[in-house]
């Protein structure tokens, strides 16, 4: 969760690395270059030799998966005549039915940005392993690409919703910390304003789904630019960020962060250790509840119950008494609460 941790940066197949093992990389650094294949063209191969389509295999000198440069020979007959590739591209298929080769021309070089700061520790097949000198927070949900930006607190209190109106041009390029929820409208506006990512306590599944549907439509229409990531720290529904965690995030305002939505991770650089979570809390510890009707609420575990206690659902479980901030006392299964441990205690 802090100190250093290893992170894998996935590289799309076909990426040519521009960094080496041992190198320090910045979040905005280009770690590789990639040329995306475009619509393939059909290149007659047997016809120029006046041979039957079925003879394709006999004359081909490349095969699907081969990278060819414009002018490279792709077929050669017994007489030494050759067919050259008309484009630089990737051979996608060989079609004996018509004696042609499908070659997907490669588009212009596109940078592959790592979005992570750290030292490259190793190379795996289609991945870079980076040692990240920062605090790592793991969420329970997330979506979207890897992004990076300065952390920016966008709500006053952890139980506040992130309103669309609160997202303005000052948030461009930042990773916003919202509160207990953000509507599809707020998420859409944030993306449109160039926000890099959003950290939330919770979000309604429906809102997230609506937002993703809007993004898909925009992508299909070709109107989507830039990356965007979302991280949920507590759960689905309207769920506050625990006040201690929110307080810690507030202290990190302005620091550089990387958010990897699909992997539910947030890295914060140059930060002190955050409050940690530990399962199986002990009496006297601050705890956070994870199931309704107490989801996201914090309190203190005041006692452990000797016998298994049946929750309202009827499931008997090892339970403890939790006194919540509002003074309410409730028995909760220990499986449904986690201790919140200050960094100094961990």
């Amino acid at each position: 969760m802090n100190g250093t941790s290893l992170h894998r940066i996935r590289l799309p197949r076909g990426t040519a690395l521009t960094v080496e093992v041992g190198a320090q990389i910045r979040p905005d650094e280009v770690v590789g270059l990639r040329r995306v294949p475009m619509s393939p063209i059909r290149v007659p191969v047997t016809a120029p030799f006046r041979r039957q389509p079925g003879d394709l295999d006999a004359v081909l000198v490349v095969r699907p998966g081969s990278l060819v440069t414009e002018g490279d020979p792709i077929a050669r007959d017994d007489g030494g005549r050759v067919v050259q590739s008309p484009v630089t591209g990737l051979v996608v298929s060989a079609m004996p039915v018509d004696g042609t080769l499908l070659i997907a021309p490669l588009g212009p070089e596109e940078p592959v940005v790592g979005h992570i700061r750290g030292r490259i520790r190793g190379l795996e097949e289609h991945a870079l392993v980076v040692e990240v000198p920062g605090v790592r927070l793991r969420g329970v949900g997330g979506s979207g690409d890897a992004v990076h930006g300065e952390l920016m607190i966008a709500v006053r209190n952890p139980e506040d919703e992130l309103r669309a109106a609160a997202v303005d041009s000052a948030a461009t390029g930042k990773i916003l910390v919202g509160g207990s929820r953000a509507s599809a409208e707020a998420l859409t506006r944030a993306r449109a304003m160039g926000v890099a990512g959003i950290v939330l306590g919770g979000v309604l599944d429906k809102e997230l789904r609506d937002f993703e549907a809007i993004q898909r439509r925009r992508q299909q229409a070709g109107g989507l630019t830039g990356s965007f990531g979302i991280l949920l720290l507590e759960g689905f529904g309207k769920v506050s960020i625990d006040p201690q965690m929110f307080g810690w995030l507030t202290e990190q305002n302005g620091k550089m962060a990387s958010l990897v939505g699909a992997e539910q991770l947030l890295y914060l650089y140059d930060s002190v250790r955050p409050p940690m979570r530990r399962s199986l809390p002990q009496v006297g510890e601050r705890v956070i509840a994870h199931r309704r009707p107490f989801q996201g609420r914090t309190g203190v575990l005041v006692a452990l119950l000797d016998e298994a206690h049946a929750a309202p659902s009827g499931i008997p479980a090892r339970s403890g008494l939790v006194r919540f901030e509002d003074g309410r006392l409730a028995p909760l299964p220990l499986a449904n609460i986690e201790a919140i441990v200050r960094s100094s205690e961990s």
Partner: protein
């Protein structure tokens, strides 16, 4: 409860520990020798992240009061030192990319085989998926996979489409170590093999050799072996799905029954059917458990909301299902949450067991996994199995409440029978039996059942109308002979279409269920009507069984 070896200076005991480490929960059962017999001594289940020490502490605490008092101070050490039989859910699923000619034929058959073998299909491209070739290529290039699967083309006709898909895989894969499985037209094998380096591609029998035939057995077996080699190279006997299959196969062999079992976990779902010869076949869905994307995908929440008796907003169901996925180690706190979890379990069981076919001829159906085997009431466990699996005919039901069945399957070949045999009285908790019919005319009688119990008055005939379900008392271990008279076109499956069927059943904690609700279950469209029907079913199976008024002859 546990004998001590009196001849020794310090009192000691014979213990053995069976542990099933799931992705969310760990189940442990302590087995001890008591009065010369091996019995289940204590059972504990806890979130896996709580760790082994806590598990030992809990088991020791459970034994205090029943174990020899001389052992009390040393129970934890004795348990920790006891011989241990472990099994675990696979650490991670195998990821496979699929390229097929058609989504409905070759693609569907190949996907089903891959998923049944425990793979997660992370990307599937087909020639008819509406995408351009470039889009398919980019999609395949973007995924991280352990293996590639190509399918398509009928054996007699070749298949240029399949060749194109194979080329796409070769182009996307771009070298590397990941193996390629070719399960397409046998006529194209040589051509496809030429796309890859020697040894990369392996040919398997085409699961759709013709338009009218589907047989994915070879493909599934090959993919099972491949996933074991790639994902669990150190051995598979300790894998929970494998352990359950081995145990169930042995149970079937020893009992001479056709036994089915379902294990619904947080990530994995496993379905086993074993015949009296001891041959077990399984479907292992790596993403078929309660965190299944089936539940969180569009429409999933709606299907669950429509299947539960309580009125819960569909949006709340969607959030609850996402939270179930996000925090699989937590427990449903409220009645609503429990109803959602049980609704989700029924839906997943239907997907897992049905596989598009009606299940009949099963003698014993076993439910495993916390959601089913640790349901608050036996009636709820029975209803999940009954409504989810819908086994046609006369079937005994049991749950693996102790969670011992799966770790016992991790024993050596020559030890499983002994292990199961030693614990036979404790291993399963019988729920009872069910008679499930298919068909029948709505509102008309579907069956009349007369229950004969030795030493007790005959019950019935009890008339069950199509759409009805009724619970009769039949206590644990109590045997009964049933005379079943089918009416109105209702059937019990099987080769014979006789209107009169005799069957023998044994009772359990729930009783005898007479179920004429058809397969699949039919529900009213109107929400209020649907909930009323679902409530009546829930109440019928949830309350204590009673004899029908005037039902005793």
């Amino acid at each position: 409860m546990i004998d001590t070896a009196a001849s020794m200076d310090a009192a000691t005991t014979e213990l053995s520990l069976l542990v099933d480490v799931g992705s969310a929960w760990t189940k442990a059962t302590l087995v001890g020798r008591s009065r010369g017999r091996w019995r289940l001594g204590a059972h504990a289940a806890q979130p896996t992240e709580w760790g082994d020490d806590e598990l030992m502490r809990t088991l020791a605490a459970r034994l205090v009061g029943t174990a020899d008092p001389r052992l009390t101070d040393r129970l934890r050490a004795l348990i920790s030192d006891a011989p241990r039989i472990d099994c675990h859910t696979p650490m991670r699923p195998g990821r496979i990319a699929l390229a097929a000619v058609s989504a409905e034929l070759s693609g569907r058959a190949a996907r089903r085989a891959a998923e049944a073998a425990g793979w997660v299909v992370v990307e599937a491209v087909t020639a008819d998926d509406g995408r351009t070739i470039a889009e398919r290529l980019v999609a395949l290039q973007s995924v991280e996979v352990d293996a590639w699967l190509i399918a398509g083309g009928f054996d007699a006709q070749g298949g240029d489409g399949a060749l194109e898909m194979a080329g796409l895989v070769a182009a996307a894969r771009g070298g590397g170590r990941s193996p390629v499985v070719w399960a397409g037209s046998s006529a194209m094998t040589e051509r496809v093999a030429a796309f890859f380096d020697h040894g990369v591609m392996r040919q398997v029998a085409n699961p759709r050799p013709s338009a009218s035939r589907e047989d994915a057995t070879s493909l599934r077996r090959h993919l099972e072996a491949l996933i074991e080699r790639l994902v669990e190279p150190t051995g598979v006997r300790g894998l929970a799905p494998v352990g359950l299959r081995r145990s169930v196969a042995e149970l079937a062999r020893a009992s001479g029954l056709r036994v089915a079992a379902v294990d619904l976990g947080a990530r994995y779902a496993t379905w086993i059917v074993a015949d009296p010869a001891g041959h077990g076949r399984s479907r292992v869905l790596a993403a078929g458990g309660l965190a299944s994307p089936l539940l969180t995908a569009p429409g999933g929440a709606s299907r669950v909301a429509h299947s539960i008796a309580v009125a819960v907003d569909e949006l709340a169901v969607a959030d609850a299902l996402q939270n179930l996925r996000a925090r699989p180690g937590s427990l449903p706190q409220t009645e609503e949450e429990l109803a959602i979890v049980h609704g989700a379990a029924r839906l997943l069981l239907a997907e897992l067991a049905g596989d598009g076919t009606v299940l009949d001829g099963i003698d014993l159906l076993i439910g495993a996994g916390r959601t089913i085997a640790a349901a608050p009431t036996p009636g709820q466990a029975m209803q999940m199995l009954l409504d989810g699996v819908r086994p046609l005919g006369v079937t005994q039901f049991a749950i693996d409440a102790a969670g011992a069945l799966t770790p016992l399957g991790a024993l050596g070949d020559d030890e499983i029978a002994e292990g199961l045999g030693m614990l036979r009285d404790d291993l399963l908790t019988p729920l009872g039996a069910a008679v499930v019919t298919r068909g029948g005319r709505s509102g008309q009688p579907a069956m009349r059942v007369t229950v004969h119990r030795t030493g007790w008055p005959t019950v019935g005939p009890v008339e069950i109308r199509a759409g009805q379900v009724q619970l009769l008392p039949l206590g644990r271990g109590q045997a009964a002979d049933l005379d079943i008279e089918l009416e109105g076109g209702a059937t019990l499956g099987g080769p014979r279409r006789s209107r009169r069927v005799r069957a023998s059943v044994i009772g359990g904690t729930v009783g005898l269920v007479l179920d004429a609700r058809d397969i699949p279950l039919l529900l009213p469209r109107r929400a209020d009507d649907r909930r009323a029907v679902l409530s009546s079913w829930r109440d019928t199976l949830g309350r204590e069984a009673a004899l029908p008024s005037g039902g005793v002859a």
